[in-house]
Every structure is written in structure tokens, then in C-alpha cells.
Symmetry: D4
Subunit: 207 residues, 8 copies
Amino acid sequence: VRQGVPEVIYGQSKTKEQIGGILAAMEKRGSRNILVTRIGQEVADYLAEQFPLRYEPLAKLAVALPEPVKGHGSIVVATGGTSDMGVAEEAAITAETLGNRVTRLYDVGVAGLHRLLGNLEPLMSARVVIAVAGMEGALASVVGGLVDCPVIAVPTSVGYGASLGGISALLSMLNSCASGTSVVNIDNGFGAGFLAGRINQMESAKE
Amino acid sequence: VRQGVPEVIYGQSKTKEQIGGILAAMEKRGSRNILVTRIGQEVADYLAEQFPLRYEPLAKLAVALPEPVKGHGSIVVATGGTSDMGVAEEAAITAETLGNRVTRLYDVGVAGLHRLLGNLEPLMSARVVIAVAGMEGALASVVGGLVDCPVIAVPTSVGYGASLGGISALLSMLNSCASGTSVVNIDNGFGAGFLAGRINQMESAKE
Amino acid sequence: VRQGVPEVIYGQSKTKEQIGGILAAMEKRGSRNILVTRIGQEVADYLAEQFPLRYEPLAKLAVALPEPVKGHGSIVVATGGTSDMGVAEEAAITAETLGNRVTRLYDVGVAGLHRLLGNLEPLMSARVVIAVAGMEGALASVVGGLVDCPVIAVPTSVGYGASLGGISALLSMLNSCASGTSVVNIDNGFGAGFLAGRINQMESAKE
Amino acid sequence: VRQGVPEVIYGQSKTKEQIGGILAAMEKRGSRNILVTRIGQEVADYLAEQFPLRYEPLAKLAVALPEPVKGHGSIVVATGGTSDMGVAEEAAITAETLGNRVTRLYDVGVAGLHRLLGNLEPLMSARVVIAVAGMEGALASVVGGLVDCPVIAVPTSVGYGASLGGISALLSMLNSCASGTSVVNIDNGFGAGFLAGRINQMESAKE
Amino acid sequence: VRQGVPEVIYGQSKTKEQIGGILAAMEKRGSRNILVTRIGQEVADYLAEQFPLRYEPLAKLAVALPEPVKGHGSIVVATGGTSDMGVAEEAAITAETLGNRVTRLYDVGVAGLHRLLGNLEPLMSARVVIAVAGMEGALASVVGGLVDCPVIAVPTSVGYGASLGGISALLSMLNSCASGTSVVNIDNGFGAGFLAGRINQMESAKE
Amino acid sequence: VRQGVPEVIYGQSKTKEQIGGILAAMEKRGSRNILVTRIGQEVADYLAEQFPLRYEPLAKLAVALPEPVKGHGSIVVATGGTSDMGVAEEAAITAETLGNRVTRLYDVGVAGLHRLLGNLEPLMSARVVIAVAGMEGALASVVGGLVDCPVIAVPTSVGYGASLGGISALLSMLNSCASGTSVVNIDNGFGAGFLAGRINQMESAKE
Amino acid sequence: VRQGVPEVIYGQSKTKEQIGGILAAMEKRGSRNILVTRIGQEVADYLAEQFPLRYEPLAKLAVALPEPVKGHGSIVVATGGTSDMGVAEEAAITAETLGNRVTRLYDVGVAGLHRLLGNLEPLMSARVVIAVAGMEGALASVVGGLVDCPVIAVPTSVGYGASLGGISALLSMLNSCASGTSVVNIDNGFGAGFLAGRINQMESAKE
Amino acid sequence: VRQGVPEVIYGQSKTKEQIGGILAAMEKRGSRNILVTRIGQEVADYLAEQFPLRYEPLAKLAVALPEPVKGHGSIVVATGGTSDMGVAEEAAITAETLGNRVTRLYDVGVAGLHRLLGNLEPLMSARVVIAVAGMEGALASVVGGLVDCPVIAVPTSVGYGASLGGISALLSMLNSCASGTSVVNIDNGFGAGFLAGRINQMESAKE
Ligand SMILES: Nc1ncnc2c1ncn2[C@@H]1O[C@H](COP(=O)(O)O)[C@@H](O)[C@H]1O
Ligand SMILES: Nc1ncnc2c1ncn2[C@@H]1O[C@H](COP(=O)(O)O)[C@@H](O)[C@H]1O
Ligand SMILES: Nc1ncnc2c1ncn2[C@@H]1O[C@H](COP(=O)(O)O)[C@@H](O)[C@H]1O
Ligand SMILES: Nc1ncnc2c1ncn2[C@@H]1O[C@H](COP(=O)(O)O)[C@@H](O)[C@H]1O
Ligand SMILES: [Mg+2]
Ligand SMILES: [Mg+2]
Ligand SMILES: [Mg+2]
Ligand SMILES: [Mg+2]
Ligand SMILES: [Mg+2]
Ligand SMILES: [Mg+2]
Ligand SMILES: [Mg+2]
Ligand SMILES: [Mg+2]
């Protein structure tokens, strides 16, 4: 196993029995705080019969064999609307489980700019910001224009019609990459949370 | 000729001789302040030999047989960047030629939100706003979240890569239609200026 | 709360309990005639147990705490076919709830031009027209060529094959924007009704 | 050589020497009235030195070894705008060269419905109609709703932005196929003219 | 009602009660042999309780108030594979109901060219051919290269992956339009059958 | 250098000086018969001053330091039209330079099936067939249905409108993969020729 | 029946009764080891009541009237992840049923390059490699850069968001076609297995 | 001016006179080491007459008023091929100008994995890696699977056919976002270099 990569199981295309088998093997070799992403309540219930497990229904992920984790540094997870909260929680819990301190700023999208501007303090003092938004994805541009730290944009598949299942938000976000923003796959909260953790935990360069 | 439609010649796919012929006929039946859109300097020079004509190189349009027009009401034309100014000028001059008062707010895109917020006064007192932006097109969302009047969004083909010749901005703008925003074709400054004029010049309903 | 924005809840991605909670809060601060869009019968039934509520199954929206509203001015909502009526009703009821008088012209698409031409009177005297059409979306072009008021085009996802879930109608409508037409997102009846209301209720410019 | 297929050379990807060689061979085996499509003035000049040849610059095609052809039946070629005339002429001259009588109705697009309705007589008595239009392509739908004969729709690449080089018109036209309309490739005037000729020249079924 | 347009109800987006109501009205004014397209068994059963009705499950259409129709001329309906038969039957039964004689050549796709070449007789003597194919849609090109009559190509949504729900076949067919082929919307068997009937029933031009 | 990979320089994005430098180095370490693909006449002339070099203008490739190569086995390169010959020659010369015997069957597309059927002998005895076609790409399907050896399909960017620069042919070819056909990138004659050579030169499995 | 084409039934769009009928006919004329692809457990159970049949649930295919087959040569089937195994098994079992020896290397994607590099032996001695991968499809490029035999790339529809149902992997794989790789349709394990068998069973050229 | 944002002029859509004016103003307020991106030799020559200026033709950018900058930390810029070097240099020089130490690993694409594996030392000790690749973009996946630091992927528009001007590489890279990789716009070397600098210069979290 490569160091630095968290213990995580991508649950989407696995049966509950397969996931249970992987968890049992991980438990045996001493793993704790194992993330199981993209699983439903039913799979979680099955696993909870065999392992201590905390399931987060909004994020659709579980932390198996959970242990307290101390959060370091400062990551802000912001969303444009309430419908983006599932993806945002996937990002936030991933980051927390990997030892990062996370502040949530939900429903601060550009349709109500005052909500964003009323929360400038945590935003401006973040080490990394994750901007989660569907539809037009403008949140990433606005946040990227305010802060001086790296911004990770996560397009979501929320919306209808010309939102094209997240493609519209994805294209928007790619077009605002100039000053410190980069983008991950549509709905990839896990990827954003993991990368944000990596950046947040960087130490000063030797020289 | 239907009343309400301005005298305008779409120059793009016409020869200079064809345009000259149409202008001569219009002049004969008494038309003035005729817009000729999407023509280059060379065509303008040819026409200027035959008609009084004001050419606007940034907007790539001309006003033939120009006469002073008094501006009424209040239309704001805002752009995200300096590269969007050509399309914005097409909109602004169209609106002015049709008898509307126009205020320009250029380069107030979301990458520098302070420039937009420092110009709230004309924006908040506009009867119609035209928001012109390429790349991620977030300006339309931000403006639409601030003002209470109709907003016409014009995506531009400015950008590269994932801007897809304006498709990215177009999709963005369509996704923020909820509260008072609608969209015209990519780079269609004329259409936006014309429609803004129609709305700006509405009179109170009888009842 | 910004003035001018109606009290409206976007129901699509919310649980019935969430919607009920928001409605309760709105009721407490005195709101009436609250639109709840994109909800099904089951959600409506749940809400109707707690609040006076009028549910419109075709439009899939409800008006909670309904009170009589007087309609002003004149908005025409036209559709190409009968399958576009759900989106059209979302637009019409939104506009009515916001205090606008609405005339419906349904199933007047270009395949039967005589039906449209036989209804010229309300069309020509409208202050705003909403043109709702799927498939080839030609209704917006034809209407835009007839009337002199602003036209708001709403592409619908009605159709199959090359209709591409509304993209075909959307592209069509964007290409006819020249003289007074603008476009909102696919199936966005609410956005069209809201914007139409804004335009219909404009008062004469001071000067 | 299959009977029924006209003598035609697709000039686009051939050198002038290649075309000259093919023409010489055709001349030798007795062919007359040979269509050479998609060639420029320069190629036409080269060929005209060696063969009797009528070049049509608008249609960008030539008729080599031209001989008088009597036109039979009745084909109408209609266009939405003036910019569609090049494609329309390719269709019209192809049909004429193959022995069909052709009536042209140009610039009768839906933005000015009165021009179309003022020309109903030739339209209603046509045996086949070719509807040529770019941008939103609504002409095909409107014509298809009026006439009772087969309609061949030709999308053109005229337009900008969301016209997508003819894709928007193509999709529009495919969506109005229900009652007697079919579609050929973008800008394929030749194909439409050839097919219209085939249909126009059909004889009554034996039984 | 325009003459020449068949009595047909597009069933897809209508409730069974709506369809029943329309049928009752048509029956009252004397209509017979009414096509009801795109309905399932359940709707058909409901209608059959009220009207004499022949339901064709493969084509998913019904003929209400059926009466014997004599077939004229000769239309061939060919398919690439067995999965295209539903669309082909929609075309064939539409044409038959409108008074055309139809020959079916199913599963003669290019993967087994011998089956096509073994059926040349009906193909070569057809007045119109309808070529129905999904996936790569090559059948239309091959048939179009063999016959001298008009060919109507119907792309189907049969296939997976890069067939893109019929887009691949559609594009293929549009690219082979040169010599007598035109295209209708994906899965639009009705449109093809109707248009084929129109062409098949043409009478000789007066002169 | 990995054995089995030919000495080849992809010329497209390199300056003539860069290519000359690479050739000089290759010459020094003893390479012969070096392919330089995607270069124009001007680059070829520059190189020919420094190295013995055979330039093929149709294929836009050169063989530097050419030496006689004996051809083994049997590869057929077939094209749908004459416009596909440039890509076909890139494939054929690549294969020949790598030691394969190549038979060319050009302009045997499905629009003229008889030309293909009149050349069955070389086709049926080939060890590999390369099918090169643009527009609808049906050649690959037809050939794949006839032969029993591996077929490599090469879509070309030949065509206009709905050919979408080769995407239409590419999709077509991918959809006929069932029985022995696979596909390379649009216009990638080199890749097809190289792979065909690899397959043609296979030896019998040990067991 | 053309020799060389296996006995195979494409089950996807057929009823279980249709498949049973075809199998009965094949059995009567002496066929054995008949592949039935893309069927579910329920169809398999139905068929198993009538024929000796081995169903493979992961590959969703059955071998009817199975008989032992000896494997020749050497084909490697590699996958990027565990989710690609269904498609890989379709390829592997197809190849085995046609008389090829198959080695499976599953879950050796580039995210864990060491797993691939730790399995170089079977890879380097393969006669053909089938590379099955979804999402970014990089496995095909990496494998193609390592081996000297033909590589058949199979994109899968595994993934979410920007994987676009396999289009992303498909495009990736087409772009790495240069040195010995070609591509089949998304999820087309059967096509890859069949083609790999054809190549693996080639015999040395006569000369 | 927000701190942290470098002094940079996006040259693409500006005239040389405009750029000169902005530079003069920046010089006056004391700026040094100003980046001017996306300009050609001619613009650079014009500017060099007025300002000390270092032009980099491969990256198509200039550093105006250049002063020595000390590089800190460690950023690796890797490319798949030689054609990606222009974009890579834009990234590398941007990062160097902003005070970062940069190591270049060019032409280490997956087609020649040994070149990448032979350069593991700088790669494994980098604080940030920028992976620049066109065509199939697999470099980002392979690098992301090797290193434990943040990876910024830059798709390039290098390639032809199915590379779709960089879209293929973009999609690929988005699909490998899981473990520490994020993506910027096609050809956006500047954005990648700027973001890499931000991450590289992070200091240890206080706690
Ligand atoms: N929700 C997610 N989206 C994308 N990638 C994920 C997700 N969850 C886990 N992963 C990735 O999937 C890998 C585990 O895949 P697997 O071995 O199939 O369980 C992890 O190392 C992560 O890189
Ligand atoms: N730049 C423009 N973009 C789109 N439409 C335009 C433009 N300029 C003019 N038009 C429209 O084109 C019509 C005139 O077209 P035409 O008769 O071809 O000159 C006007 O009535 C406008 O509706
Ligand atoms: N402008 C055109 N667009 C599409 N197809 C054409 C055109 N002109 C000619 N063709 C077709 O091209 C064939 C001749 O092609 P060729 O043998 O390459 O000259 C004719 O039989 C027509 O079917
Ligand atoms: N026309 C071509 N199209 C695609 N790939 C090519 C072409 N010509 C050469 N190649 C590939 O490019 C490699 C050489 O690339 P380079 O090192 O940049 O010269 C060769 O090994 C081939 O795999
Ligand atoms: Mg920023
Ligand atoms: Mg607003
Ligand atoms: Mg109008
Ligand atoms: Mg009709
Ligand atoms: Mg034909
Ligand atoms: Mg075959
Ligand atoms: Mg290789
Ligand atoms: Mg990594």
C-alpha cells in the first residue's frame, strides 16, 4: 500500500458481500477509520451488523471502525444551494476523516450574494476552499475571485435541462481556472476532500 | 413593414454592393438612423462614399443617415472582461440608436467582484440590464441576484479550450434563468440591445 | 429579502418535511400566495394537511395560503402542442399568482398555422408573449415575427430521438433571437412566468 | 452506369486536372449536361477552356456540355433568408438540369410570415417542395404544415453561435418530420434537387 | 381538416381517457381507420372496450374502427436487423392503412449482404423503399446504391455504447443522401410510412 | 528502442530542422527505411537535400534512407471514395515499408456496390483488410460482412455537414465491430498500416 | 453460413421464446458451444430447462450445448478495475469458447501501476492483449506501450460524471492507436474476444 | 490589488498598444517581473522597444521588467510528448517567475513508460506535479498513481481526429481525479503554474 493514500472503498459497483469481505481484510491488518463511499442505507445496515460503523445518509458514505480524529489546519466547504449538500458532505467527511478541520458554508450561491459576503471571515482565513455547485457553477468563480488560497471546484449534477447532468457547471468551472482554481469530476466530493486534505496538510518547504 | 421593428440590415452575409442597394432604397422611402450590423472597415468605407455614415469599429456596425436621437429610460450594459466589449458595444449602440439611454459598466466580471460592487448605483436604478460575458458567464448570475429588473444575458465566444466558442457561457446563463434573466444567442449584441429597448420603452399597463 | 422576488419554494430536490418546515416559517412571518414548484401529488397531499393549499397537477405546482390576486396588464402563454401544457401552466400560474392577467393559447403550433392565425387578436394586444414549444420549437420564431412586444421562449423536453431532451428546441429558439425574443432553460415555465410578470408590470419611464 | 443516376462530378476534393480528365471521358462516351458541383470560379475557368460550360457562381456549380432541357412537373425551392440562396440554387439548377420545372421563392422565412403567405399559389400547386433554411430552420415546419406534397428540408450552415454550423437547423427539421417532410445533409442542395426530381417525375402506379 | 393528412393520434404523451375522447369525436364525424401510435397494450385494451380496434403490439400502434383498405403501388420496408422490426412495422402498417401495398424485407442488414442480394427482385421493382436500421445504419447506403427510386432512411435507437441512442445511425444516413435518399427522425416509423405513401401515390405530372 | 516498433517520426508538430536532426541521429545509429509522416512538400524538399528520401505527396509521408523491402503475406487497403486515398496511401506505404505485401482497392464504396463485388478475389484471400472511408463509413460494415480475416476500419475526415469531421464515420464503424472489425482514430492511416502489418506477420501459435 | 463466424445469438433485444427457438434450430443442424450474449439469469433459467447450458452471471452470457474446447495460443485479458470485469469476462469466455487459451489480469489499472508491472511475464508473452477499462481508459495506452503484439482496447461504461457512459474512455483509447492498438465499441466484450481469437489463430503467411 | 495575485496581462485579445499602456502604468506603480501571456513575436518586439523584456517563443509569453527570482520548494512539470512543450513552458515559466523552483520532465508519456520510470527521483520528491498531455491524457493518471503530492493536470489541444481539440484529454483527466489530481482548462499552462506555485509555497498549518 502506497503511504498517503487513505483506506477507502469505492462502494458504487460492489455488492455488500464484497465490501464486507474487503473491510474484514482491512480490519485484520489493523486499519481504522475506513471510508466506504457511494453506498445506500441498506448496504450500510448490512455492514453495521459486522463492524462498528457510522453511516452518513446525506453523503451516502460510511466510516467503518471509526475512531476520533483531530482536525488540523482549515478547509472551507461551500455550496451554491441546498441540493449540493450531499456532494459537499462527501467532501467534508472525507477531509475530516483524514485529519483536517472543516468549516461548512452551505447555500451561499451567487443568487444570494449577501449570504456569501456575510461569511467572509472563515472564507478569507481558509487554507483551501472546496466550492460545490451545480447549474451554472458561478460560485467557484466568485469564491476564486475573493480568496488567495487554492480553490477546488466540484461541479454537481443538480439541475435540469441545459444543466446537462453537471456538464454546464463543469465547463463553467474550467473556464475560471486562471487564478488558483482547479476542477474535479462531476459529483466527486471524495476526490475534492482528499485533495484538499493533501494541500491543507502541506508543510513549509525546506528552503 | 411591421411597426416597432427598427430599420436594420444584417451585413454579415451580404456584399457591399447589396448593402448599398438596400440602403439606397431605404433612404428613398425616408428612413434615417439605419443600423448596418456585422460589417468591417472596408465595407463601411465603401458605404461612406455614398451615404452619411458613422462607423463603430469596436462594435463592427454602422449607423447610416445618422440623426440625433434622444435617450429615454435607463439600460445598463455590463461586461465581464475587456474582450467582451465588441459585443457589448453592438448592444449599446443598437439600444441608443433606438432611443434608449445607456450606461456602460465594462470589465466588472466576478473575478474582481469589488469593481461590480463599487458600481451598484447605476445597476440598481436600471430598468433593464444587459450582462455580456464569455468563458464561465458568471456575471449574469451575479447581476441577476442583485437587481430587480429584467436581465438579458449575452454569452460571448471569448475564451479558449473548454469555453467551446461560447457554449460554456451560454449553458451557464441558461441555468441561472430563475429570477428575471433570459438569454440570447452567442455574440448577439444586436438582439439584446433591441429587446432591452423594447422593455425599457414599455408604458404602464392600462389597468 | 430582496423586494420584487416572489415567495417561491423550488420543490424538486427537497423532502416534504423540508418543504413543510419552510412553509411554516413563511406563514409565521406573514407570507401568502407562496408558490411551491415541481412537486407531485403525494407531496401536495402531505402539505395540504397542514396548510390551505391549491395544487395544480398539470403544472405540478401548488399555491400555499392562497388568496385572491387581481391580474394586471396582459400576458399570452402559447404552446405548440398539447404535450407542452404542463410547462405552460407552470408559467401561467406563476404569472397569475404574481398579479398578472394571463390568456392561454394552447396547441397553436406551426403544424397547424391556421389555429395560430385564427387567434391573432389576443396575441397582437399582449404586452408580453411566452412561447412554449418542444421538438423543433418553431412557434417562437413564428410568434416573434408577428408581435411587437417582448417574446420569452421556453423550450420543452417533449419529443424523442433528435429532440435530444429539449436541446433541439433550445437551439432553434436561440437562433431566432434577433427581433425581441429571448430564451430560458428547457422546461423552465416558472422562470418565464416570473420574467414575463416583471416586464408586464413595468411602468412608463420617467423621461 | 446505373440508369437514373445523373452524370455528376462531386468537385470538392478533386483537382481541376482530375475533373477535366473525367469530363473528357464522359464527353467521349456521349454524355451531355454534366453537373460539376462544389467548384470555384478558378476551376470553372480552367474547365471552360476545354469544354462548353455554364458556371453558376452563386451555386458554385457548372453544367458542362450544356444543352437545352425541357422542364416537367413542378418543384418549388423556398429559402428562409437571402443567405440560403447558394444552397437553394444548387438544388434548383440540379433539378432543372435533370428535366424538372422549378419555381423559386426566396427569403420567405418565418420572421416575415406575410411574404410566405403572399406566395401560397405556387406553393400549394407544387408536386414537391424543397425548403432551405439555416439558423432555426422553422421554414420547413411551416411549409410542411401548409402543403400536401412531399417536402425535402435542407438545413444550411448559415448563422453564428448556437446555429452550430447547421446542426441547429438540422435538428429542427428532423423534429418536424411527421407529416410528409424528410431531411438531407447540411448544405446538400444537390441531394435535395436530385431527390425532388425523382419524386416529381414519378408516374402513376399501375394499380 | 387539411385533405391528405390521415386521421392519426400521437398517443405517447396522452392519457387513455384523452385518447378515448378524441376517438369518440372522430367516430362521430365519420372517421374510419384511425391510427393511434405509440401506445402500450394497457391503453389498447382500454380503448378496445369502447371501439372496434386492431392493436399491433410490435409496432405499438392501433387501428381504430378498422375497415379493409386496398393497397396500391409498391413500397418496400427493409430492416438491418430483427431489433428494428418494431419501427419498421410502425412504418409498414401506417403505409398500409393509408392505402399502399407494402412488402417487408426484414433482417437484410449489411452484416449478411447475401440476404439483401437474394431479395433484389422486390427491391428493384419498388416505387419507394423505407430503409430502417440502427447501429451503423449502413443499410440505407447500400440500398440507396442499388435502387433508382426514392429511399427514406429511418435511423433506430437500437444498439448500445457508441450508437448513442440512434445518433450514430442518423449521422450515417444523412451522409449518404446524395443519390435519392432522405432521412426522418430516429424511430419515426410513422413519418416514413406516411411520406412513402405520399410519394407512392403520386400521379404522372400533367406535362 | 523496443523491438517491433518501426523507425518513424511523427512530423506534424515538428519543425523541419527538428526532423532533420532526428533523422541524422537515426542514420548514424544505422536505421534505414525511416517513415516521416504528416509532412508537406516543403519539409520534404528540405530533408531531401540532406538525405536520400522518397516523398509521397498523396500520403504526405516520406521514406528516408529508402531500401528495397520484400513484401510478405497479404494486406488489402480498400477505400469508399477517391477522397479517402490520402489516408489509404499513408496506411499502404506504412505497411509496405514494414515488409508487407499490399493490394489497393480504391473507390469501391457502397454507393457502387458492384465495384466492390467485382473485386472479391483479392478481398477474400487477404490476411488483413484495412477499410478506409469517410461520410457514412458503411464500407467497413460491408467488408466486415464479407471477409473472415481481421478488418481494421479507418474513418476519414472527408465530407461536410453532418460528417462532423469524421465523427459520423467513426461512430458508424464502432457500431459494426461485432464480427472481426476494430477501429483506429480518424485519418490515422499510419496506425492502421502498422497494426495490419503486425497481424499479417503473425506466425502460427506453437500449440 | 460463412465459415469462421461462431454460432452466437445476441440476446439483448430478443424474448426468451425467440432465443429458445433459434437454439432449437441450431441444435437440430448440429451446432454445439453456442454463445448467447447479454441475457439475464431469468432468461438463462428458462433456456436451461430445455438445453444443456452453462450460464456465466458476471459476463451475462451463456454457452448452450457446451462441450470441452481446447485452448490454443495465448490471449491476455486485462482490466483497469474490478468494475470492468463483466465486460472482460464476456471477452474472455467468448475467446475460450472459440478455442483460445486466455489469461486474466484483472484490476491492474494505472492507479496502481505496480500491479501491472508485477505481471509483465504473461503480458509480454501474449499473442494478443485485450485491454478493458472505463473512466480514463489509460490502461490501453500503458499496455500498448509495453507489448509488441496487437492490442484490442475495450472502453467500458463504468464511471460517473465526465465518464459520459464510456465516451471518455473511448476517446482516450482512439487517441493512443498509433502503435498496434485498435478499439471496439463501448462494453463490446464479445467483439473483442472474437477478434482476438481471429488474430491469435492466424497461421504463418505462406511467403 | 489583492495580495497573492501576480502581475500578469492576458495578451490574447488585446492590441499591442493596449498591452504597452498597461505595462507603462504597472511600471509606474513599481511592478517588476510582469508576465504577459499568449502574445506572438511581433507583439513582443513592439514591447521590447519600450521595456526591458524577456520573450519566450515556445511558451509565447514574456516577462517584462525582469529581475532575478529565487526559486523555492519543488515543482515538477512533466509532458507526454514534445508537442506539449509550449503549454508546459507557459506553466514552468509562470511558476518560476512567481518564485518557485521547477524541474522539467518532457516527453515522458505512457507510450514510453521507461522514460517516466527512469525519472522517478525528481517526481517522487516533488511538492507539486503539473502533468501536461494531449491526445489520451494518460500521463496524469500514471503520475497520479505514483506520487503522493497534489497533481495538476493540464489537457492540451495537441492531436487530431478524436482528440477533439483537447476534449478527449480533458475528459480523461477528470476521470482520474480520485487520488490527488485536479484539472485546469485545455492549454491553460498559466493557470496550472500559478496554482502550483500557491500550493508549493504553503506553510505548515499553525496547528
Ligand atoms: N466517491 C468516489 N468517487 C471517486 N473515486 C472514489 C470514490 N471513493 C473512492 N474512490 C477512489 O476509489 C479507490 C478505491 O477503489 P476500489 O479499490 O475499487 O475500492 C480509492 O483509492 C479512491 O481513489
Ligand atoms: N448582428 C445581428 N445578429 C442577429 N440578427 C441580426 C443582426 N443584425 C440584424 N439582425 C436581424 O436581421 C434582420 C435583417 O436581416 P436582413 O433582412 O437579412 O438584413 C433584422 O431585422 C434583425 O432582426
Ligand atoms: N454537392 C454534392 N453534395 C453531395 N454529394 C454530391 C454532390 N455533388 C455530387 N454528389 C454525389 O457524388 C457522386 C459523384 O461523386 P464522384 O464520383 O466522387 O464525382 C454523384 O453521383 C452524387 O451522388
Ligand atoms: N500519422 C501518424 N498518426 C499517428 N501517430 C503517428 C503517426 N506517425 C507516427 N506516429 C506515432 O508517433 C510516434 C513517433 O512520435 P515522435 O517521437 O513524436 O516522432 C511513432 O512511434 C508512432 O507511434
Ligand atoms: Mg483566486
Ligand atoms: Mg434577479
Ligand atoms: Mg418580433
Ligand atoms: Mg405537410
Ligand atoms: Mg440511389
Ligand atoms: Mg467479418
Ligand atoms: Mg505497442
Ligand atoms: Mg496520487
